[in-house]
Amino acid sequence: MAAIAERVGAQPKAHAQGYLMSWLTTADHKRIGIMYLLASTLFFVVGGLEALMIRIQLSHPGNTFVSPTLYDQLFTMHGTTMIFLAVMPLFIGFINCIVPLQIGARDVAFPRMNALSLWLFVLGGILLNSSWFLGGAPNAGWFNYAPISLTPFNPGPGIDFYDIGLQLAGIGTLMTGINFIATIINMRAPGMSLMRMPLFTWTTFVTSVLILFAFPPFTVNLFLLMFDRLMGANFFNIAKGGNVLLWQHLFWIFGHPEVYILILPAFGIISEVIATFSRKTLFGYDSMVLATIAIGFLAFTVWVHHMFVDGFGPYVNSLFAITTMAIAVPTGVKIFNWIFTMWGGKIKFTTAMLFATGFIPLFVIGGISGVMLAMAPADFQYNDSYFVVAHLHYVLIGGSLMGVLAGAYYWFPKITGRLLNETLGKWHFWLLMIGFNVTFFPMHFLGLLGMPRRVATYSAALGPAVAFWNLVSTIGAFILAISFLFFFYNLFKTLRSGERAGPDPWDGRALEWAISSPAPVYNFAQTPLIRGRDAWWVEKTEGDGRLRAAEAESADGQHHGIHMPSGSIYPFLIALGLMIAGYGAIFGLLLLVAIGLVLAFFSIHRMIVAEDPGEIVEPVGGDGE
């Protein structure tokens, strides 16, 4: 972290506190973004190691590398970690670092709430992972169906860690959603009309709306489970009139939009990267925006396709099969638009562009199997088999993670001021492509050959084909893991001695490339005036290669400093208090609950009554110089 901080230098002068305190109290969206990226990368490594243990266990039939008890914890924590603590916060990290720059803003709408989001995510994630050392990790799968998650079948504390850890992280995510809706509506620089926003900003906006409406049902669901487990309630207890399908409905009403929360930001990143390296404006911008909105809307209408085998009958299943297949149309529009953005361009295959182009075939495979899964009667065969595991990894790795990595190579210079090594990057890309496909393509076959998901091992009686493809898949998983060693080495090497990036190393199109790398703490010395789509490209090709200042702020001809929000320790303390209360609830220690809540509410009180004087920062030099 020290190395990054030094590169970023994003620390207001006024801060006289110690180094650690300056990170704990920061409200700067760029530093918060960096902490999101760091923490979620660590969680990604943990989830990846869990995946490797899963693959070792399944490498041959009847393996005893891990016990079934441990295996159940491994696959649960792998899924939960990757979805909630790795991929989603990786995107939130990029959103934090980049979106305010793309719209010409000084910061997000609520800088200190942004810090609270971060700390709830980090501390919630730590709480969830601490379960390994405090009585056992959750073991009922990432969707944690009732009643196997209830006390009679699951007396240990693992599920409580899942419940409270995700509750904390989820509330943080919800606040991120609110923050970025307000930021994008209210903080755009003059001239940045909605239909001039870069696609990454658009997908962030739609993602934030999905978060806003998808997370509250999840919050409620987690509360209901907590009441059942800790307070003797009966929401899912059929002996007292409870209903186990209630969990599934509330979970998937959240869970399906969550899938789009995980893919829409990737769509945005791919759109930026492909346009930049094809040296063309995005093909069909309007239809891209419309498709994003359509996908966001449809996301709320398809949740029952996760429940096709629940026996709801032909009318319900048909209806949800139709809405699900409908999503293929706007998604297809996006794929064609990306291809035709490259069409007629001059494509430069940097590592970022390799990941963006490689995304297309992988995501098309995931999309194809998605349509096949949507056909309810066929899904009766695919459901809960390895076919589904293959599908979801094609969309989550082939889709989301490829987007994350394209974004990582693309924006790393903007975030740190240094260019990642291209040779190592290409090794990373090709090994990942090989390792990924060798790992996950055979899983389609395994599903069709009758292997259910979440089995701790499988019998040799399932035949040599099942054993063969499992071994192939395990070998692929190691190739995939090795590809990431190249990536981490690249990160390490670049931070120590990487090539310095200028403000605009890729000849970029959006506004973030108009300012120095890393961005100064105030982002833009003067709020810029936006004169078209691809705002920075317009200035480079039609203007004089400099951003124009929006006149509003300098109308009085006076020079004044830039008013930046001041940092605060209270966001961290609120999150810490809630974490302490969470541990208290898990272990039934009411005193701990009380201490945690007092700390949290004292901090909330301090934030309500706080004056926010802010800090005046003097800009240095001009934009982009």
Partner: protein, 205 residues
């Protein structure tokens, strides 16, 4: 935006960034409230799907005391009115009057909560608890979460009252009061729905 009627009454220039922050706060709060709608919609949906699942145990309908819940409704609705008076005072720049009306609002909120605690303890004494049946769990979750929202509103209003207002009512602090009021009205509206769905309709039928 929404709080157009609120003119900066206090002294001191406002930087463009501070003006933006006021705007953000109100917009952000409306966004938060739409998330709250999804939260209560999930709870009400849960209640409606489980309210007949009484497992043969004590039912809510047999315990409802409409005059009591009517009194609760009255106190909460009145508190919304007094919150409006606080706003009006704020718009006129009358700090003391605003504080008085906020105190009255908090007091009415406290009356509501007190009655709710009485109501819950009466139910529990009659053998209707979280553990009685799925219907009972759903009742306590829905109505209890609303109660917690009222309690948080009280905490918020009292926090505001302890805020110094050392420069009087200014453009920088009106939105602090404004969003607390918005929250209070929202919680009130949710109560009207809960009162109708949970208490009134089952009792009338």
């Amino acid at each position: 935006m929404i709080n157009q009627g609120v003119e900066p009454a206090g002294p001191g220039p406002v930087s463009p960034e501070q003006a933006k922050a006021q705007d953000n706060r109100v917009l952000g709060f409306w966004i938060f409230l739409s998330g709250e709608c999804a939260f209560f919609a999930s709870l009400i949906g849960t209640y409606l799907s489980l309210n007949t699942h009484t497992a043969g145990a004590t039912t809510l309908v047999s315990l409802i005391d409409l005059p009591l819940t009517g009194l609760m409704t009255l106190s909460l609705l009145t508190s919304s009115l007094t919150m409006v008076f606080a706003f009006l005072a704020m718009n006129r720049g009358e700090l003391q009057a605003m504080k008085v009306w906020l105190w009255v609002t908090a007091l009415l909120g406290a009356v509501f909560l007190d009655l709710q605690i009485f109501e819950f303890s009466h139910y529990m004494a009659s053998g209707f608890t979280m553990g009685t049946s799925a219907a009972a769990s759903a009742f306590f979750a829905l109505v209890g979460f609303h109660g917690l929202h009222v309690a948080f509103g009280l905490f918020w209003i009292i926090s505001l009252l302890s805020y110094s207002f050392k420069d009087g009512i200014t453009a920088a602090n009106t939105s602090k009061v404004w969003i607390a009021g918005l929250y209070w009205h929202f919680v009130d509206v949710v109560w009207v729905i809960i009162f109708t769905v949970v208490y009134l309709l089952p009792k009338v039928h």
